[in-house]
């Protein structure tokens, strides 16, 4: 069957039309309705370096998630021990993710262990020592539990960031985990990169704390911070001078409520100054808690803390039922909108670090596309002319195969959803060079065979047969290298490997299979006796 010229030509035509079909959406600006509804409408996918946009690699500080869990546990432990009347003192968080405490009564050890086992299955005793008749115990989190928290922290961060980006409204974002604790984010076409970074990187941990007004703030600032208190700062904008000042607050460390209890958050415009603020609504449990907290603390000030910075600390005038509250601050409309987004999407379970950032402006991308395209055209024309000059009509056949090679390559890229990057364009230009090689090998062989006095038909057959093995071996070896590039490569290396791989496969098809059909047609059907080569 493969001997039939008709069959081979039909197969080639089919593949060629298939490639054109996939390329149509990229080339035709406005597709007819029936096409957009039923047929593939994906354009060729351009990398960030070509279309502009932002590439970020974040590292989730998963250790911090473990630490904050430990912090919560140590607070709970204190309460539980008190309830169970086990005498202890000096509960401390110490370096290396451990909790230390002293049991003042030696008889307390057994009930302590029991409490630990029943109420804190995730904690275990690391070591203990007896100092001056008191037992000092070091606790740590169980290893697999810590690993689980880390894993969860990364998964949850991924989900949260995905939510935030979705709500921000960026088309075709790519947010994928990388390694153990990294997240890769690609935002094509984004212009306000600073804002996007703020939105993605913000931990957005919302906390409600009571301002401690029983102690003097001045004393605390001197270093005498009362037990169980902390100092946090807030920015205060003077409406008259427009100056911003950092204002300290003395707060009770205990967090009464967090952003976890939120149901929704939206931007509102306040009536008094016409300034935007963020209105939040608690879920059922959160509303109940908020109701109780405000009830217990009437006439005290409730600080609203976001990521360790006090946004406002209004006086609680009366018990607030219904679970509604406002976060005010000197927001611009954009800031308020972004804050509402991050509050709705939830807090990151752990802070994130930006490890890598690459931003490409749209004009640079366009510039690269233009220059890349021109390079392809110029290189194409030069090769076209050279091949005809050197191999005459056979050169023309090779040129035809080359043009087809380009179309198939681009079509295949659309079909597989591969991304075209700048090194990818270089890869295409190089594929042009390599595709020519296969034809050069074949033509040189045919010439050698003709020199031995063979007929045109015999020379073509021998030439193809002998050259094929060489082409196969050399291309497969390059393919092996390209596949490893794809496996280990990152960014530009990978983009390059993709085009190279597809290019090699396609060029074997066009340079060997397609050109042969043309020769066979001329020597079998047209019975030509001499080859122009």
């Amino acid at each position: 069957m493969f001997k039939s010229i008709k069959f081979r030509a039909a197969l080639t035509l089919l593949i060629f039309l298939g490639a054109l079909f996939y390329l149509t959406p990229t080339v035709v600006p406005e597709l007819p309705d029936f096409w957009t509804k039923k047929l593939p409408k994906d354009k060729i996918h351009l990398g960030l370096d070509l279309q502009g946009g932002m590439h970020l690699v974040l590292e989730v500080q998963a250790d911090k998630a473990v630490e904050s869990t430990l912090e919560r546990m140590s607070n709970n432990l204190k309460e539980t021990l008190m309830q169970n009347k086990i005498r202890f003192r000096n509960v401390d968080r110490i370096a290396g993710g451990m909790i230390s405490l002293e049991l003042t009564d030696p008889a307390g050890r057994d009930p302590f262990e029991k409490t630990l086992k029943n109420n804190f299955p995730d904690l275990e005793v690391d070591s203990s020592e007896t100092v001056d008749g008191r037992e000092k115990v070091y606790l740590k989190m169980k290893k697999d539990r810590a690993a689980e928290i880390k894993k969860l922290a990364v998964e949850q961060s991924l989900e949260t960031i995905r939510n935030r980006v979705d709500q921000f409204g960026i088309s075709e974002p790519e947010i994928i985990p990388q390694g153990d604790d990294r997240i890769l984010i690609q935002l094509p076409g984004i212009k306000d990169t600073k804002r996007a970074k703020n939105l993605i990187g913000k931990t957005a941990l919302l906390e409600f704390k009571i301002v401690d007004e029983d102690y003097s703030l001045e004393e605390a600032l001197k270093g005498n911070i009362p037990e169980g208190d902390q100092i946090l700062y807030g920015l205060h904008l003077d409406r008259e001078t427009g100056r911003q000042a950092s204002v300290p607050y003395l707060l009770k460390s205990k967090t009464l409520l967090t952003g976890d209890s939120l149901e929704s958050a939206k931007v509102q415009i306040s009536d008094r100054f016409g300034e935007p603020n963020v209105s939040i609504k608690f879920n059922t449990q959160g509303a109940e808690d908020f109701d109780r907290i405000t009830g217990e603390n009437v006439k005290k000030r409730l600080a609203i803390v976001l990521d360790g910075s006090v946004y406002s600390a209004p006086v609680i005038q009366e018990r607030i039922s219904g679970g509604q509250a406002q976060i005010t601050g000197s927001f611009t409309m954009e800031e308020a909108r972004d804050l509402a987004i991050v509050l709705r999407a939830g807090a990151l379970p752990a802070p994130v670090n930006i490890l890598e950032e690459r931003t490409v402006g749209p004009s640079l991308g366009q510039d690269s596309i233009t220059k890349g395209t021109w390079s392809c055209i110029i290189a194409g024309i030069l090769i076209f002319i050279f091949m005809v000059f050197y191999y005459r009509a056979s050169g023309l056949i090779a040129d035809l195969a080359l043009a087809m090679n380009l179309i198939l390559l681009l079509g295949a890229m659309v079909m597989f959803g591969a991304t075209l990057t700048l090194p990818g364009i270089a890869g295409i230009v190089l594929t042009i060079g390599m595709a020519v090689d296969a034809n050069v090998l074949i033509f040189e062989r045919i010439r050698e065979e003709l020199r031995t006095g063979k007929t045109a038909r015999a020379a073509i057959e021998a030439g193809y047969a002998k050259a094929f093995l060489t082409i196969f071996d050399s291309n497969v070896t390059t393919l092996v290298a390209a596949l490893f590039l794809f496996g280990f490569g990152t960014g530009p290396v990978k983009g390059f490997a993709v085009t190279l791989t597809i290019g090699i496969v396609v060029s074997m098809f066009t340079a060997v299979f397609v050109t042969r059909i043309i020769y066979d047609y001329f020597v079998w059907n047209r019975k030509i006796a001499t080859i122009s080569i």
Binding site: K194, S368, K371, V440, G489, F496
Partner: protein, 306 residues
């Protein structure tokens, strides 16, 4: 019938005779290159590997580098390297990653706005790579190169013979080393694009080498009584026309890329240009003689049958 020919069909150049001289030349280039790398205190790593930040700015008019330097000093970027990059464009590189990387682009934009009117410049590219990522990228790039070599070794060893595989690998290590050496002597910077280019050279070089090996294998089977030395000479001569033609077309493409591909592609094309020339040279002078060298040490099964 007359063909258009650069290399006449019965060319008989004794390539094997030049093998020692060629080896010496290659060795000299590599040694000088490596010495220059050591002299410069290692390869000139770009931010992809060393970490740091890079900002590319395009101006409407030719910018004064001094004026820009003053501007950057005000925001604490006195250690930055400012280079012009294409027409009216500059690239600013800062080695440190400790500073507040998050706002580098914005910071530069604000400070430039104080010196230049708005709209007279545009920040085209900001890249910030932390040291951790840099290490990671270096590791992955090295792994990619290493495993591609192993892969080639296995495939060629399987299709040909082990000594051919070794000859091929040595030839491509030669090409990569030569390219790295010359590129370093020109004091150019290594980034991920350059790694991609080096890997292409690996692909090209082995492609070229296989074509000649294939001919050697064919000729060795056809002329069992012929000395391997002569088989190699015959094969290199027979494929010489193809070697030159293909390299010529590839070089043509690369020269186009080098001049028209734009600033980002420029270095990429340069590496490939060096590598391709080295590749042709090594295919002819390095790869095949190595097969001959191994024949002297341990004759292969095929030739012993005679």
């Amino acid at each position: 019938m007359a063909y258009m020919e650069f290399i006449k069909p019965n060319t008989q150049i004794d390539f094997v005779r030049w093998m020692k001289a060629a080896g010496a030349v290659s060795l000299a280039v590599i040694v000088i290159g490596l010495a220059s790398i050591i002299w410069q205190g290692g390869l000139n790593y770009g931010i992809d590997f060393a970490g740091g930040s890079l900002v590319q700015i395009k101006f409407k008019q030719e910018p004064h580098i001094d004026k820009i330097r003053d501007t950057f000093e005000m925001i604490g970027l006195q250690n930055s390297i400012i280079q012009s990059y294409g027409t009216h464009e500059i690239v600013v590189r800062t080695p440190e990653t400790r500073a507040d990387l998050k706002g580098l682009g914005a910071k530069i934009e604000t400070s430039l706005s104080s010196t230049y009117p708005a709209g007279s410049f545009e920040i085209q590219r900001v890249e910030v790579v932390g040291p951790k990522v840099g290490k990671d990228l270096t590791r992955k790039a090295l792994l990619a190169i290493f495993f591609s070599w192993i892969g080639i070794l296995i495939y060629v060893g399987f299709r040909f013979e082990f000594r051919y595989a070794l000859g091929g690998i040595i030839a491509l290590i030669h090409d990569v080393l030569i390219t790295v050496s010359i590129f370093s002597m020109m004091n150019r910077e290594y980034d991920l694009n350059i790694v991609a280019a080096l890997l292409t050279i690996v692909g090209f070089s082995i492609n070229d080498t296989i074509v000649i090996f294939d001919r050697i294998r064919e000729n060795a089977r056809k002329n069992i009584r012929m000395e391997l030395r002569d088989v190699i000479n015959l094969s290199v001569n027979q494929t010489l026309s193809r070697t030159i033609l293909t390299s010529f077309t590839v070089l043509m493409v690369l020269i186009v890329l080098f001049f028209f591909g734009g600033s980002v592609i420029h270095n990429f094309a340069l590496v490939l240009l060096i590598g391709t020339v080295a590749g042709v040279y090594s295919t002819v002078f390095i790869a095949s003689p190595i097969v001959l060298l191994f024949e002297k040490i341990k004759p292969s099964a095929i030739t012993r049958k005679k």
